[in-house]
Symmetry: C2
């Protein structure tokens, strides 16, 4: 497995990580003094940064040379040190901001988070196991990072099944096309692997973080569930749940939450999420609730009490801190670490450095937009990488790397060859900004219309069916060969 | 209402409490400089201490003259200040220790906690409302402190019902006689007021605090429930619940927990409970779970969705910090503050400064003890206030205030006149230590035997009946006059 060693920091003592860090720090200094090759210094610095993150993850404290770890001492965040880049992108569950117009530097993020890059070999393997062409999100690096995916594939090939877990924080009724990314991809995974899926609606989280009532948050969870169901999930293999409802319906889920809460300190969530002493105790303990669905014993109605069914979590990379914590806790409570597939962020219409917001209708394409609204928004608000005048554009071409219309097409245009032709023509100047925007409008209008048609078909009764805790109709891997009944152990 | 003004600190801003504190501090200094009457200085100091506690409760920070409150600043515990006694008893949910052989100074505790003393007028009123003689625990000051009890009695007299809430942390199978105190008293309250009762078994708390598995904690909850049921509670009016089970059975309960968790910061639980950054996030958020049963909406199956049924909590005073927090939060989430009745602590057999422990069978009388064990323990281990020799005892008499056998009789001997005669005779020397012990043995042996007989009758099925969430068979106050059916609003 190519997964980074730091991910296993949980099995090292804080002291061991501290010593490893000190050694690495010395090596960086030696390399610098020796005027070593720039690439070598860079690699050594990257490992150092990675070790520092691990150290903070397991101790909740910043590394300080000469100060071995002590539980309970005060955490001091000194900000990026001399070795780290001053212009670091901010990526956590509540804030994403890029320092470059091209967006977040995802390669650096992989190093900082200690995850693994999705290399061509993994895409090829997924194609082989799935028996079909990889999803465009994989082919185009939109899902770009992972943890332990080779392990769940190994198990799958040995007829040991896994399940999928993804989620949504229902902060408003207005979902935009970017919110569909994890669900479009998860549906593909469910189809090709034919496995169960659980979808968590964190309405409790939204209540804790936002100025909204419990009733509002729960209402948004139900409304958002309709958009998710409209993505085409199989009701026989999918369980969608609101935390506010499911916590109060499943003693096993609460037992797992308490288990996790016993094994994570305030120092640790402070280090991972940046919580402060002024934060409410609900926020401080919430990460355990997002962690719990990673363990199959949280869903006895689905897994018949089995505690060892591995979990694969497709999500945007900003959610990774929750699952770093989860993976750190898992072995200490006798559970399997969940595997992850991380996606990049979906850009705002105005450019990667702008924010998408439900209160600014022009910040994105919403799932409720009419064809006319889609056309107007893209024409007026989609950040363009084209040149200011026709002459300039024809002469020098546009820049697809900052052009939001081109970015959106990489998400939604299925045809690889057409996409490549658009890139070439736009870069050369043969394709104008208006023409590029037209292509995006032609792609999104039918897609959104189709989504709206499907969403209309989702009745309250359908939502209830998806959201009722119940057995799912699927066979565990080992049963498939023998055509036996679902396992009842 | 005689309830202390500080209890309403929740309705004052931190700044206002800070200013009031500064003024009070100045007054104490002036009184001291003026060599004022000692009682006046004492009263002013007591109010100052009370204000400091309030300040810490609402801000999580210690008062510092000249430093107005700021959320998020570091809490520094400077220990007792010049005005406070150096020898302060420790009383919190996890530690109780007295500095005197006579035990905790409960009058001082009332001042420190900002509760109200149970005066004769309140005992008389309870007798009048109840229509029968006050329970011996009230007559003898074993329940000695309260919050807002006059208010629930006012409402009761206007035919607005209240309900009772008490609980137990099931840390072992071995319960001792002291554990029965809140339950004996709560049963009396239930009988005389004819009202519903909820009993929380905090098995999740024990899991978080102790080195035990979830299964062990849950098992102890079930076993302890049998001892509680053996106290004679009415199954038609009593709901006993394990947190591990009920949290996963009641969306309404979890909703209240989240509401409370949103309105309490880490700074506040740090100030109230002394939590540190090294504590697990489960401990940090647990107080919300002990708070939630104080609100009738946590039990929709009992109260038919009514959110305004007031709650009265009989408990030992060490549990008060939980309910100070609860009362602070209640108005901010639209709920009624629970009222409280506080009991003193039950002394260990070896004296009030010793600890009772399930692992030391001689530290108390356990509910499983045989008559012979009871006799031997009291004869050999009950701390005596008698003199060393017969001659000395006859000449100078014993000290009932430190004599554990006498203390136990104040808890369990019903006859006031006999108890008073024992006190007089023991003090005069007419009654010897051995004779006093004999009277206690004669009291406890049949009491424990009767408990064991009743406990044997409690089957697993009985436990299940008490612990199943269900409607209770009772009439809300307003229905009694009209003989109507239970309210269904």
């Amino acid at each position: 497995m190519a997964d980074c060693q730091c991910d296993d920091a949980g099995s090292l003592s804080p002291r061991e990580v501290h010593d490893r860090l000190t050694a690495q720090r010395d090596q960086v200094r030696t390399l610098k003094e020796d005027m070593a090759d720039k690439a070598d210094i860079g690699a050594a610095v990257q490992l150092l940064v990675k070790l520092k993150l691990d150290y903070k993850l397991i101790t909740g404290q910043d590394y300080k040379a000469g100060s071995p770890p002590s539980e309970g001492s005060v955490v001091q965040d000194n900000g990026p040190s001399e070795e780290e880049d001053a212009d670091v992108d901010t990526v956590d569950p509540w804030n994403v901001s890029a320092t470059s117009a091209k967006g977040v530097d995802y390669d650096k993020l992989i190093v900082r988070f200690g995850s693994s890059k999705i290399e061509k070999a993994l895409v090829d393997r997924l194609e082989k196991v799935a028996g079909q062409k990889a999803h465009r999100f994989l082919r185009r690096g939109i899902f770009f990072s992972h943890r332990d995916v080779h392990q769940v594939l190994d198990a799958y090939e040995r007829n040991n099944p896994f399940y999928l877990y993804t989620g949504r924080g229902p902060s408003s009724e207005a979902m935009h096309v970017g919110h569909l990314i994890p669900f479009i991809f998860t549906k593909w995974l469910q189809d090709v692997f034919d496995i169960p899926l659980v979808i968590q609606m964190t309405d409790d989280e939204k209540y804790l973080w936002k100025d909204m009532t419990l009733e509002q948050c729960h209402h948004y969870a139900m409304e958002n569930a309709k958009d998710i169901i409209a993505c085409g999930f199989d009701v026989n293999k999918t369980f969608i749940f609101s935390d506010l409802d499911y916590m109060g319906s499943s003693p096993e889920f609460y037992r797992n939450v308490v288990k996790i809460q016993k094994h994570v300190t305030f120092n640790q969530v402070k280090g991972i999420f940046g919580f402060t002493e002024s934060d409410c105790i609900g926020k401080i303990s919430f990460p355990a609730i997002q962690a719990a669905p990673s363990f199959s014993s949280s869903f006895p109605q689905i897994f018949k009490g089995r505690k060892d069914v591995p979990c694969l979590i497709p999500c945007a990379i900003d959610q990774d801190p929750y699952f770093r914590m989860t993976r750190d806790v898992a072995p200490r409570i006798g559970y399997t670490k969940p595997a992850l597939l991380h996606s990049t962020f979906f850009p705002a219409l105005g450019g990667v450095q702008r924010k998408m917001s439900a209160s600014d209708p022009n910040s994105s394409i919403f799932l409720t937009d009419t064809p006319k609204q889609i056309e107007n928004k893209i024409k007026q608000h989609a950040f363009s990488g084209g040149k200011d005048t026709l002459e300039e554009h024809r002469a020098h071409g546009g820049d697809p790397d900052v052009d939001v219309s081109f970015m959106y097409l990489t998400f939604f245009l299925e045809d690889d060859e057409e996409l490549e032709k658009i890139r070439r023509d736009y870069t050369s100047g043969a394709l104008l900004s208006g023409e590029l925007k037209k292509r995006l409008i032609d792609t999104l209008q039918p897609m959104i219309a189709e989504h709206q048609r499907k969403r209309k078909e989702v009745t309250d009764d359908t939502v209830k069916r998806f959201m009722t805790p119940r057995p799912l109709n699927y066979l565990l891997g080992n049963d498939k060969d023998t055509n036996a009944n679902p396992v009842t152990m």
